[in-house]
């Protein structure tokens, strides 16, 4: 940051920030979402076949296939992506780090551990768990376990960091919790190896079984988390000036940070409990928004949620369509799509 050196070309486009980009991005995202929703309804286990779509509609299983399976899966993929995009934007703003993702504060590690524990308790090698505990854990189900685990992981991080006082401490605590819980999870899978397969499936992430129940739950969660986060978005804006500067503006930083961490935990926990640990969406979505249309966080949070939704839906449609009737893991496609685009942007920056 010396004197008057040439301005950093940190965007691929030179010149003024164009505020109209913000509106444009939202329009593009809405159009993409609409188009992908149609794709999501058409693409099924028969791939991209228009004739198959027509015969599906005419068939006697139409209500089941389209109404019970494809439509909720499509909407569900968008909601998972939306929750992860929102979580990623909060994480990046809160931790003031463009490489942050919503899994950083222990939510992913906690969810994975909880899933492994439930799977292990239900498996045959579960002598170390009492039968009543095992029965209760079985009732809990994987979805509930993942959600509780995610929240638990974040709570542990907060406890270790002694509240949301300092960003660096929060980040470090999150890393420690992640490593610890990961190690515990590995220990459990060593003792109860039957849990390993289920754990791997969870870690890879899947949109395959999203039904109307999941859709309702996630819609509710997003409807709560997004407006509240947007309401407090200016705090994230103030944080871009630096922690002390933000404090000097009269903000009750610890309390607001705690609230934002809670929203992050809620959004991530919901997404992770329904779809597993889908990689990359939470990291890439806010990054893409900031690169194309930098803006205050009130906009970035909403746009990140929308971008995440579109990204995951695109990945889901491709996962179903490319090798139909088989499926690719959706996490692989989010990495390819999101990572590929990011690489391209970075490349342009290097040349421009």
């Amino acid at each position: 940051m010396n004197g008057d050196r040439a301005p950093a070309a940190s965007l691929p486009f030179e010149g003024r920030t164009d505020r109209s980009r913000r509106a444009r991005l939202l329009v593009v995202l809405a159009a993409a979402a609409a188009a992908l929703t149609i794709c999501g309804l058409v693409v099924g286990s028969q791939g991209w076949s228009w004739s198959a779509w027509v015969s599906d509609l005419a068939g006697d299983q139409a209500g089941l296939i389209v109404g019970q399976i494809r439509l909720p899966r499509t909407l569900g993929a968008m909601l998972v992506g939306g929750l992860l995009g929102l979580g990623g934007a909060i994480a990046q703003g809160l931790l003031r780090n463009p490489l942050a993702d919503p899994y950083l504060l222990g939510s992913a590690a906690g969810a994975a551990l909880a899933v492994v524990v439930v799977l292990a308790a239900a498996s045959s090698g579960a002598d170390w768990v009492g039968s009543t505990t095992a029965a209760w854990l079985g009732q809990l189900g994987l979805v509930m376990a993942a959600f509780v685990g995610a929240l638990g992981g974040v709570l542990l991080t907060l406890a270790l960091a002694r509240g949301a006082q300092h960003t660096l401490r929060l980040l470090l605590a999150g890393v420690v919790v992640g490593v610890l819980m990961g190690a515990l999870g590995d220990l459990v899978t060593t003792v109860a190896p039957d849990a390993l397969r289920g754990k791997q499936a969870f870690v890879l992430g899947s949109t395959g079984f999203l039904g109307w129940g999941s859709v309702g739950l996630m819609a509710f969660g997003l409807a709560v988390a997004l407006p509240v986060a947007v309401r407090y978005a200016r705090c994230l804006d103030a944080l871009t000036l630096g922690e002390d500067s933000a404090a000097s503006l009269g903000l009750d930083l610890p309390r607001v940070r705690l609230l934002l961490v809670a929203l992050l935990a809620l959004a991530t926990g919901l997404a992770v409990s329904q779809a597993g640990l889908v990689a990359f969406v939470g990291l890439v979505a806010p990054h893409l928004v900031k690169r194309y249309a930098p803006a205050p966080h009130g906009y970035t949070l909403v746009a990140s949620a929308a971008t995440g939704a579109v990204l995951l839906l695109a990945a889901d449609v491709l996962a179903r369509g490319l090798v139909a009737p088989q499926e690719l893991p959706v996490g692989v496609l989010t990495a390819v799509l999101g990572g590929g685009y990011l690489l391209w942007l970075l490349n342009r920056r290097a040349l421009g």
Binding site: S45, I65, R70, A201, G208, L210, W212, R320, P325
Partner: protein, 289 residues
Amino acid sequence: MTRRAWLACLCAALATGAAAQAEVVVRDDRGVEQRFDTPPRRIVSLLPSATESVCALGACARLVGVDRYSNHPAGVLSLPRLGGLDDAQVERIVALGPDLVLAAKSARVSDRLEALGLRLVMLESDSHADVRRSLQLLAKVLGVPQEAERVWARIQRQIDDAAARVPAELRGSRVYFEVSSSPHAAGASSFIGETLARLGLVNIAPSAMGPFPKLNPEFVVRSRPEIVIASQRELQSMAGRPGWQALLDATLRRCAFPTEHYDLLVRPGPRMGEAALALADCLVHPRAP
């Protein structure tokens, strides 16, 4: 006896002696040749199906250590358990002084063990033919080549029995065998698929998809399988999957196997015949729990 007769006897004796000490040369599933002067007497098995095969061939007493997943026959449970394929306890294995280690083709530990001077035979069993070949290989190494065919014949008999037991109205039904909840199915080209085919069932996942394809759940619903086979826990959670309640309601048979019996079904070894019988049992009784 004449001198010529003595010479003939001597030659014969020498020849027999030489034959008894003849080298056994086998090529394992990764293509490596192993030569055995004498049948191995101390065997470590890191593959549950290999453990079962060794015991089925009558050489159970020669096992000195098994992996943590080997649980059949009951006798092996008292043997030292040496970890899995990814975390095999190298020190303990070496300390047992085995003259043969059996492992899967993809084992990471193999390089280490071979570097330490142990002799490794790697087996991979994806299909019935593979199982037969593994049995023959093991029998040859163990010095009991005729046992392989005996065990194989028994397996075939059991499968034929099982096929005979399948109710006539179920023959030709579509079957879905779930291997994991992703969902991964056992396709027609897997060993499970071959068994199901022998029982007269039609797999919804044809051979073209490979042995264990990861399916779009919609495909399973659309295929309307009449028979669904899965572990007990998976079957319980299946009804919660979107659109699957209708699938389950329309089935003729639902076979839920608790974990211990599920092992039996998914292990490509000498108990494949028993697996077939277990499947047939389930098909005979409507709505098995």
